[in-house]
Amino acid sequence: MPVTSGDSEPIDLPRMLAVSVADEAPAEGMSDAADQAARLAAHEPLAWQELFDEYFRKMHRFAYVRTGDIHLAEEIASEVFVAAVRGIKRYKVTGAPIAAWLFRIARNITADQLERRSKRPTTPIDDVQLETPGFATQLDELTDLAEAMRHLTREQQEVISLRFVSDCSVLETAAAMGKSAGAVKLLQHRALTSLRREMTRGTPR
């Protein structure tokens, strides 16, 4: 199962906070982004509250789709902002939206949480992911889709979650995943193709 393939690592804050955008960093909006980053780095409460208001729900949604666990998703979303406060001094404005940085943190924390959970014998990840009552069972018509998602690789799941569930742009997704925009488009295409193939195959519930 890709999610538990062992490629997760223990939380490494410096690593998760290091954002690099390989390409397509636009100059437009750089000053706004720099201004926002400066306010955040100065620990302005209002700036942080705005960031929280805008992205907490998105972080939660991302984590929920990846873990299928509402409480774990809440925990992860919360951890994202605590980690962000701790690491804001190391954040560098590169042209990527701040969201990408947050999603990168979320991605790493989620991977770490999934790794930890996969080691607990009582809660195998295969039984949990995307199968919670609040998700698949409540959404009969979407269950196949949720099931099919489980058969994607970790990166494919991430790109789908970021692009179509969390509504991130290609650029944001690229920054969050540490890939180029072109690589994200390719990965997205492969993920959608795999997803379509899984659905056509009729993944048993």
């Binding site: 942080w48 902002f81 701790r86 979407l142 179509f164 379509r196």
Partner: protein
């Protein structure tokens, strides 16, 4: 194929996001039309899936905001150390500009917040803190205060009870209320100069004012290791917990009465006034409101009295019985001249005697009535 297909897909997704008609975009890529339609439909389903993701619980959101703000305040405090005056001013300005910052989160982070301004290497600040002891270690107390937990060092402090009788540190056990004069040495850390153990009434009054802090303290020392390690001490703690539990029940009752008293025309206000007469300490925090309430209740009672009086003197025997009962309960509001039977009743064998010289208890004894049925008081 892949690159151009990817571009085509991206165009479709962008069009979808912008609310543009999809067919026109797909028509521009006839060679991929079928595949594009399927994948775009798939992404639409994914978005539906996204919309179906339950929102985080409101309490969880508040908790998360509070945690973030705590971290923020801790970071500010850490930064402020070398440049206390600058960061203090900076933070004040930030807060002034940030009036919309979630109040809940700041309240939750209250303890840290208060420490931000005095955690630097600058002058220490004198403080008076009140709270309940939730941990008592060697020379240190941990208090539950209205701002959260506070750690207090007792070295060299004078410790007394409220009457000024000296105590040693062992007299300050878990569950005791204390008032401490201290120097603040760091965020939520104090060095005590004088410690006064609260009398029970004062502790109860504190709990009445700081209900949630009091409950928090109770929960903390119910689980204290001191209880499991020392059964004798535990008994005392449990007794104290029990006292507090009963007290908190009274607090609940008070709050319930206050809540219901707000309802228009509620007779509960009278119960509230009565309750507060019996629990004056508990109601000390609402003394002003209580006086107003007392006036209002008295006004209502007077109105009732006049109404009953009118009906009684108009010949309504039941009203007279009600009035008699009323006068038993509210002797202070019942003038000595109150009629206690239908004055105009033709069946009355003797006129109502002027009761001015009779004590109320005597007046409540029904006078001889020959035929008018009357409820006994």
């Amino acid at each position: 194929m892949t690159m151009s297909y990817q571009d085509a897909l991206q165009r479709c997704l962008d069009a979808l996001r912008a609310g543009e008609p999809l067919d026109a975009v797909i028509a521009a890529y006839p060679q991929f039309a079928a595949e594009l339609r399927e994948e775009v439909a798939l992404t639409q389903n994914l978005q539906r899936l996204s919309n179906a993701v339950p929102a985080p619980d409101a309490a969880a959101t508040s908790r998360a905001a509070a945690l973030m703000n705590q971290e923020l305040l801790a970071a500010q405090a850490a930064e402020r150390r070398p440049r206390a005056s600058f960061w203090g001013g900076f933070f004040v300005r930030s807060l002034a500009g940030g009036a919309l910052v979630a109040v809940v989160a700041l309240i939750a982070a209250g303890a840290l917040f208060s420490g931000v301004f005095d955690n630097g290497g600058g002058a220490v600040e004198a403080a008076t803190i009140e709270g309940i002891v939730v941990e008592a270690g060697a020379g240190t107390l941990t208090l539950q205060t209205s701002d959260g937990l506070a750690s207090v060092q007792l070295d060299g402090a004078t410790i007394t009870d409220e009457d000024g009788a000296p105590l040693d540190a062992t007299g300050l056990d878990i569950g005791e209320g204390v008032v401490i004069k201290a120097r603040r040495i760091a965020a939520a850390k104090y060095a005590a100069t004088q410690v006064t153990r609260m009398a029970v009434a004062r502790l109860e009054a504190w709990c009445a004012r700081e209900v949630s802090s009091c409950r928090e303290a109770q929960e903390r020392f119910q689980n204290t290791p001191a209880c499991t390690n020392n059964p004798e001490r535990c008994k005392a703690i449990i007794a104290r917990v029990e006292e507090l539990r009963i007290h908190l029940e009274n607090v609940d009752k008070l709050q319930d009465l206050m809540q219901r008293c707000r309802e228009p025309g509620s007779a509960v206000c009278q119960d509230l006034v009565q309750f507060c007469r019996q629990n004056a300490d508990l109601c000390s925090g609402i003394r002003d409101r209580l006086q107003n309430l007392q006036s209002a209740v008295d006004g209502n009672l007077r109105e009732r009295f006049h109404s009953m009086t009118e009906r009684c003197t108009g010949g309504d025997g039941n009203a007279c019985a009600d009035l008699a009962r009323f006068c038993t309960e509210h002797a202070n509001l019942c003038p000595a001249t109150a009629p206690l039977r239908p004055a105009a009743s033709p069946t009355t064998t003797r006129p109502v005697t002027s009761p001015t010289t009779r004590p109320i208890e005597q007046r409540l004894v029904p006078a001889t009535v020959t035929s008018t049925p009357q409820r006994s008081p």
